[in-house]
């Protein structure tokens, strides 16, 4: 199997899907000749031309709004938001429009489309190039929210997203674009939407994470293993709808849950996960459901000491895990 980075998995999957399905197009800022500011669409303009790889004007609201219209008329758009931090102008079109189209029309109309958004920090991007935006959108019924952390899942989930009859928000952690590599099968393979995966098995506690924090959690689990604590690490992969079964099965086994996310602590997705566990696995718990997350400040600062302060990492996760394990 070929070994790829996340960005390669992404690009190759888009290319393969566009070859398969002539109705797929890409639009967004600088996606054409420039190949995207992260190079996710590099080479696609050359292969598919300007009517399938379309530079948009600088206007996120209408990148999504026009995408919705295309989806209504037989085109399956991949709408690229250049940085997730800039998705907010499109909030209304995503939340009130794309996500509600099927319901409001009682199934007459739907919006099969994929909105790609590079998110997350640790790249000196400061307040407006580091945001985690998933919590806002995981609260929106009618929308799938995916956040793969490995090249395999990136390719497999993107392929599933491009067959979905409903809108998908596809979140790509910027720091993982090139930082990790992994095997990606050739051909038409899928990772199902709605299924988490146990990325590491263990009996002593469950660490639930996704994105960059999944990898930090795995590192923490390595460290913990040396200390005799066997942490099970779950990669959510699909953030909405959540795979409650996988979460609850694991927590019922381990009795302890540690939830790790990069977003601001309060109101982040981790709160919802904690609530699900508290409501559905109460009798199995033998320690407080613990969260490790970014602090409640407006966004990630630029300067390194403050950026590092914001970001959870393997050490912070391991420290919280030790406290929980000792409970």
């Amino acid at each position: 199997m070929p070994v790829k980075s996340n960005i390669e998995a992404l690009r190759d999957t888009m290319a393969a899907e566009m070859r398969r399905d002539p109705t797929i197009i890409i639009t967004g800022e600088d996606v054409g000749q420039r190949g995207g500011v992260f190079r996710a669409t590099e080479g696609l303009f050359a292969e598919f031309g300007p009517s399938r790889v379309i530079d948009s004007p600088l206007s996120e609201l209408s990148i999504v709004g026009v995408g919705i219209g295309m989806a209504l008329n037989g085109i399956r758009p991949i709408c690229e938001i250049q940085f997730a931090d800039f998705i907010h102008p499109a909030f209304n079109q995503i939340v009130n429009e794309a996500a509600k189209m099927r319901y409001r029309s009682n199934g007459q109309f739907c919006c099969p489309m994929v909105i790609r958004a590079p998110y997350g920090g640790g790249i000196s991007g400061a307040l407006y190039h580091s945001q985690s935006i998933e919590a806002f959108f995981c609260h929106v019924p009618g929308l799938y929210v995916l956040a793969p952390s490995t090249p395999y899942d990136t390719a497999g989930l993107l392929r599933s997203a491009l067959r979905s009859p409903d809108p998908v928000l596809f979140l790509e952690h910027k720091k993982l674009y090139r930082a990790i590599k992994g095997e990606v099968p050739e051909g038409d393979f899928h990772v199902p939407i709605g299924r988490a995966e146990v990325k590491r098995a263990g009996d002593d506690m469950t660490i639930i994470s996704y994105g960059l924090m999944l990898h930090e959690s795995l590192k923490a689990a390595d460290a913990l293993a040396k200390e005799g604590v066997a942490a099970e690490v779950i990669d959510l992969r699909t953030l909405a709808p959540l795979d409650k079964d996988t979460i609850l099965t694991s927590v019922k086994k381990t009795g302890k849950a540690l939830i790790v996310y990069e977003d601001n602590y309060t109101g982040g997705l981790g709160g919802e996960i904690a609530a699900i566990i508290a409501e559905n696995a109460f009798e199995y718990l033998d320690g407080p459901i613990t969260r490790v997350a970014g602090p409640d400040i407006p966004a990630m600062p630029f300067s390194h000491p403050m950026q590092d302060f914001f970001l959870p990492n393997a050490e912070k996760i391991a420290a919280a895990a030790r406290t929980l394990a000792a409970y």
Partner: protein, 342 residues
């Protein structure tokens, strides 16, 4: 006479090719919308329905545009006053009445949305939301898809003049201009956005003046004149069909009713103004024109009115009797189901 803007937009008289039957049909459609609308107000006054929002007074620009379109091929992304428009494209009084009562059979939304949130796939009428102007970029996208797919469909999108203040309007027209899309943006300028008059809404006299900013003709016309409405819309359709690009239409019109059944318009406009506009009623003008042309006489008008009232009565009775949705119907449809769920 349309005031031209930006590029050349010459309106020929397309009405000459309309047959007397078609003209009578247009008249009947306007009348049907009007009478159904009036009935809805009555039902609201009787406390039988929770809410009504009227399309009264704006029937001519809507029916004129509908007749300029090819039904089942061209698209409409409507707004809440488009009662006459959607019926001229294929929705029925029953359809609209079922929505008014929030009944299960409402084809637009199965009772999910408020009344007048039209959506009807068989007629390519796209389901709309309440936040105004969101339909504009979506309509541009529908037109873009048609272009990408090599289809010669055109797309109408409707909104009020107040709604042009939204960023959505600007961004949509910008896309349409850049990509020369077959998008016809029909602004029904009834001079108020609820209570807010034109001069507090925009610093220009005419919405059509803004066409220039998007490299497209901005055409304003008397939206209470169905002939002019038809001509201008037809020209815009042909333009779009020929690949010549988008058009911004501004139909000057008026809303003689309050904004909705929740509104009281006496706080923000004079009765004199309302009365003055009632004299310019588009349906009275159409009736007069047809009589002058010898197409309509008392007997024919009587027959039309009779048919119209029968439909209105039928729709009322049918919808009142029709069942409500079941409570649990609320749970669907959120998603369409994933092909690779397993």
């Amino acid at each position: 006479m349309p005031a031209l803007s930006a590029q050349q937009f010459v309106t020929r008289d397309h009405t000459v090719s309309l047959t007397p039957e078609q003209l009578l049909d247009m008249h009947e459609h306007m009348l049907l919308a009007r009478k159904l609308d009036e009935r809805m107000w009555v039902l609201h006054r009787q406390g039988k329905v929770a809410f009504h929002i009227s399309g009264m007074g704006q029937e001519a620009c809507q029916v004129g545009a509908a007749y300029a379109m090819e039904r089942g091929k061209d698209w409409l992304h409507p707004y809440y006053r488009d009662m006459a428009f959607v019926m001229a494209l294929g929705m029925t009084p029953r359809h609209l009445m079922l929505a008014l009562f929030g009944k299960a059979e409402d084809p637009s939304s199965g009772g999910r949305q408020m009344p007048s949130h039209f959506g009807y796939a068989p007629s390519r009428i796209v389901s709309g939301s309440s936040p105004v102007a969101t339909q504009c970029p979506q309509a541009a996208g529908i037109a873009f898809a048609a272009k990408l797919r090599g289809l010669d469909e055109v797309v109408f999108v409707c909104l009020g003049e107040g709604s042009t203040s939204q960023g959505d309007f600007h961004e949509a027209l910008n896309w349409a201009g850049i990509h020369n899309l077959p998008l016809i943006t029909l602004v029904q300028n009834n001079q108020y956005a609820i209570s807010v008059p034109l001069e507090k809404q925009m610093p220009v006299e005419n919405v059509a003046d803004r066409g220039d900013a998007y490299g497209m003709p901005g055409v304003m016309y008397d939206g209470n004149d169905i002939f002019e409405s038809y001509n201008v819309a037809r020209e815009a359709v042909l333009r779009g069909r020929r690949g010549e690009g988008p058009t911004l239409l501004e139909a000057k019109t008026y809303r003689p009713t309050p904004h909705s059944s929740d509104d009281d318009d006496r706080s923000y406009r004079s009765r004199d103004e309302v009365e003055m506009w009632k004299k310019r009623d588009p349906i009275l003008r159409m009736e007069k024109a047809l009589r002058e042309r010898g197409i309509l006489d008392d007997a024919e008008q009587e027959r039309i009115l009779h048919r119209v009232m029968a439909k209105v009565d039928d729709a009322t009775e049918y919808s009142q009797r029709a069942p409500y949705p079941r409570a649990e119907d609320a749970m669907h449809p959120v998603f369409g189901g994933l092909p690779h769920a397993g």
